[in-house]
Symmetry: C2
Subunit: 135 residues, 2 copies
């Protein structure tokens, strides 16, 4: 499934790679304002959830759960936001975002809101924190 998968260039530019799961590549969005993971199923030419077969959909749900549980342990969010929008980046990708009632966008969605890049040290800390739970 991993052979010759080509990550969308905008996702590659906006995110850091964390790890490869069975179905999905795990990316960390370069935005220090919210813990924000993006899952990208590693098959080319996917656009919608229904482009995955039933087995892959279930595997995706498992991987969403894995990331969600890691976020609960790491950040105790008030709410998780899970979304596949894809109006701008067409390649199928799923946002999983840890939200707090005192975050800069609450209660609005974070899409299209202000961003703040990670420092190198902060980025590496967040990636290492996630890797404790999703290896």
């Amino acid at each position: 499934m991993n052979n010759q998968f080509i990550l969308d260039s905008r996702l590659a530019n906006d995110c850091f790679e964390v790890i490869n799961l069975k179905l999905s590549k795990v990316l960390l969005m370069n935005n220090n304002l919210f813990p924000w993971i993006i899952l990208v199923p590693k098959k080319n030419s996917l656009k919608e959830l229904i482009d995955l077969n039933a087995e892959e959909q279930n595997l995706l749900m498992e991987e969403i759960s894995l990331i969600s549980k890691a976020m609960m342990k790491l950040y105790s969010p008030d709410k998780l936001n899970v979304a596949t929008l894809g109006n701008i980046v067409e390649q199928l990708h799923i946002h999983i975002i840890s939200r707090r009632k005192n975050d800069s966008a609450w209660p609005q969605p974070v899409f299209g809101k202000e961003t703040k890049p990670y420092t190198e040290a902060n980025k590496q800390k967040v990636i290492n924190d996630f890797l404790q739970y999703i290896k």
Copy 2:
């Protein structure tokens, strides 16, 4: 699963009931600008996807696929948006929205954007259209 399930009052006010599936209640958002379905798993006190067990998560994915396929047939969307946010309404609910590149919010998400209520006739037509595919 359906016994004494209590739908959040804001969802009840903002939506029309379409049908009950095995896991979820299917609602039509009262917004004529976008074909917009909301799935609400019929168990009380759910907040996150990970509050569902694995079997329920897979069933939810099946029901998301069912609605998604109906939308593809009915509206030929340029993109489906599928999201569980819940920053305002805490009860777990999943938005499935048919988007067109010429719709009033494209390419932004539709959440918090302008709305336009259905006429009674239009509402009934949309519900009947969906019922052809999701009965």
